[in-house]
Symmetry: C2
Subunit: 459 residues, 2 copies
């Protein structure tokens, strides 16, 4: 293993040059003002050529019309007799108009400065994905047999809904590669600089929109005020019923069935340093909120939420509006069923809509939480690999956000997803001057090699 890591240390410079090539392809799938379809193909082709020279069986899979291709690559000598390790990533990137003027460099020049590559997609997610590819290539170059059978699935629509991949997974596209040992994904964040982590959980989500309909057009509040239901008022009263007087979620049944945080996982999170003051400063607020009995990180990572993301109705003058709109979303934790939560929320809202007012729900989407038990047999080998890769202690964490495809993959492969983030929360994903620490690219390559080694030992 030490030999292999030394080989990686020696090859990392060359690998960074190749990463720059990959990053220079402006494969934008979201927020683009330009047609990026050629760059999308170019990025997929770049990956195909990478896998081809590694002797992988690689294909650019077109799933349905008007989607970006999946790059699917199987390691040489792949056998269904051995459990497969899947590595997921995405080659598409966010647009750069957010805002463009805030970029201090060309977003697709792959400029290197102070140990970072500053470019769109450097951290989200080309750099981390490429670290895995280059780790495997290095292993092959030094003539090592791969410790596991590998399947790379790299999509081009992560930033715009993962439609092709979702269809592929749900239609059983992964089944031919079964059985699976696990999937490795490096599309989360490290807990902090020099604090690499295995992310044990992601919150799920239940999102939908609400419309309350009133008079057929906005009407004068003097002429009709008092005899017609005001959609804004109906909406406000209905939504207020979601919370109790303390602002806590009051939806009957909302907390039912939530799996308690294990004492062991809880201890890990309580031990992490998370100063309230830092959060208050970052958010620009004079106070935080929290349920009684939960630490800040437990609240962020392991407790469900219910947010009113959007409110809209009428105009700032004396009208009674024709329509009022809201968007609601709950972040879900293990044990909460998204369909059930959606029903509970909509029942709670509907129960407070007066007779004669009309409410409609629309655009629902949902996904359950993902959670890997801290006592799962793959946790220790993963932490060990991270430690070898980074030369420092590996933490366990969760994240508060949702990655629906993780849940789909875990379900369809019947195997855990190991979320090993290589980026940092300060890498400015989706914002201007996105960057990726080259040091973490290097440590990511090392971690990947060590992880495949560890997984080979347990499989």
């Amino acid at each position: 293993m030490q030999d292999l890591l030394r080989n990686i240390d020696n090859s990392v410079g060359e690998c960074i040059e190749q990463l720059a090539e990959f990053v220079r392809i402006p494969s934008i799938s979201a927020g683009a003002n330009v047609d990026s379809s050629q760059a999308i193909q170019e990025a997929a082709n770049f990956l195909v050529s990478q896998f081809t020279r590694m002797n992988f069986a690689v294909q650019k899979a077109q799933i349905g019309a008007n989607t970006n291709p999946l790059v699917i690559a199987r390691s040489p000598g792949f056998s269904s007799a051995r459990p497969t390790v899947m590595i997921y990533g995405h080659y598409d990137v966010q647009g750069v108009d957010n805002p463009r003027a805030a970029w201090t460099v060309d977003p697709f020049a792959a400029e290197q400065r102070d140990g970072y590559m500053i470019a769109r997609g450097a951290s989200d997610n080309k750099g981390p994905t490429f670290a895995h590819i280059k780790a495997v290539e290095t292993m092959l170059q030094v003539g090592r047999p791969l410790p596991v059978d590998l399947l790379f699935v790299i999509e081009g629509e992560e930033e715009c809904g993962s439609q092709a991949l979702e269809t592929f997974v749900q239609n059983g596209g992964l089944d031919e590669y079964a059985p699976f040992l696990c999937t490795v994904i490096s599309d989360t964040s490290m807990y902090g600089p020099d604090r690499p982590s295995l992310t044990l959980g992601l919150r799920g989500i239940s999102y939908f929109e609400i419309s309350v309909r009133g008079p057929k057009q906005d009407v004068h509040s003097g002429l009709f005020g008092g005899i017609v239901h005001n959609p804004n008022a109906v909406l406000v009263q209905a939504l207020a019923g979601l919370y109790n007087a303390d602002g806590q979620i009051a939806v009957p049944g909302f907390y039912n069935g939530i799996e308690p945080l294990s004492a062991r996982e809880k201890r890990h999170y309580e031990a992490l340093h998370a100063p309230e003051q830092d959060y208050m400063q970052e958010l620009g607020v004079p106070a935080l909120r929290r349920e009684v009995g939960y630490s800040l990180l437990e609240q962020r990572w392991t407790r469900p939420t219910l947010e009113i993301n959007y409110l809209s109705g009428g105009s700032p003058r004396t009208v009674i509006p024709s329509m009022a709109h809201a968007a609601i979303s709950a972040r879900l934790v293990p044990g909460q069923n998204p369909a059930c939560i959606e029903s509970l929320l909509q029942e709670c809202i509907s129960a407070r809509i007066p007779q004669g007012a009309r409410v409609e729900f629309s655009r629902p989407h949902s996904s359950p939480a993902y959670h890997l038990d801290i006592d799962h047999p793959l946790v220790a080998p993963t932490l060990s690999a991270i430690k070898q890769g980074f030369n420092c202690e590996a933490l366990v964490t969760r994240e508060g956000g949702s990655i629906p495809i993780v849940v789909d993959i875990a379900a369809r492969t019947a195997a855990p997803v190991l979320l090993v983030g290589l980026g940092q929360i300060t890498d400015n994903w989706h914002g201007p001057n996105e960057r990726f620490a080259l040091r973490n690219f290097h440590r990511g390559m090392r971690t990947s090699a060590a992880l495949l080694h560890e997984l080979g030992a347990v499989s």
Copy 2:
């Protein structure tokens, strides 16, 4: 009197020609895409020349900079020994882009069709104002002494806030014409076609806006959901407290001091035909709302309201917004003090803002309700004059809207305002194809002459 009315019947054709001249001046003060300042002066000058040939002492009064002039005209032989009757109107009109394409005629051609003059300002308010001027001119032409001393005050900013008039009234500009018997205003609506009415009351208003501030920018609901106050949720919970579970106003003290509707006035409103079905169809709603114990018209005219006119916050995706906004307005009835209501509302809202959330109130404006007692000695003469003018029974009504300047005038002149509408609610004020029934112009001239006669008899 019958002679005078016959003279009016004979002169009405000539008067309509002059009204057309007045209406052709595009004196837009609101919603204009063009500079209308020349037309504003032209309309004021038109009125000055009207009053000049009636031997009135007339002035175009410029109140402050950047305001449209008031036309102030005093009848010949005006004496402070006799009580003054003031007649108010406005020569400015709404714009015509609401939308322009919906007009089927040139809005400033004063086209006559099917007994209507179809033009911007024909009904709001040039036609009704001109009916009074022409009635008085006819009286003077037949050599009658005017039965009362008259003061015309015709403003050019009714559609954009009445700034000059408000300043003029509040600075005591009317004081030199005291004592006042009453003010006559024809800027409300008749109850229906062939159902002329004296409007006994207008609701007042208390309006303000609310902002709830959250994190310094919109933040990701996955990353921060659960630890930061959501301004949308804070706003919704605060506003919901304004109502009880039945959707009725629940602000402590809100109903305190409301003057009960007199049995006599109540009987009048109950006797009016106001089918719920018609309202439901006009509004496009499956049901109306109402407080228990109040008829539809009582609810619209004599009960206070509390509306959420505006809601805005976040966007329809998984964010926690930085800010949430609302606009609130209450329509007030006699006995409610606007400043007091504003305090009660803001206290009620503030009491439900959690610690650590931040709320601000802004852009308040308010005006009390206006009410003329049905037993006031000028009511019977006014109804009699309307009956003579229209040759049909005159009703008493109220309106649900607010005209702040009415309250200012009543207070400053210490005299009632007689709201004698000549337009109809179907005249499409502020909309395309505004129209004024020439029949009502004629009947308005007759009513004006009869009213001055009646007022002369009681003064």
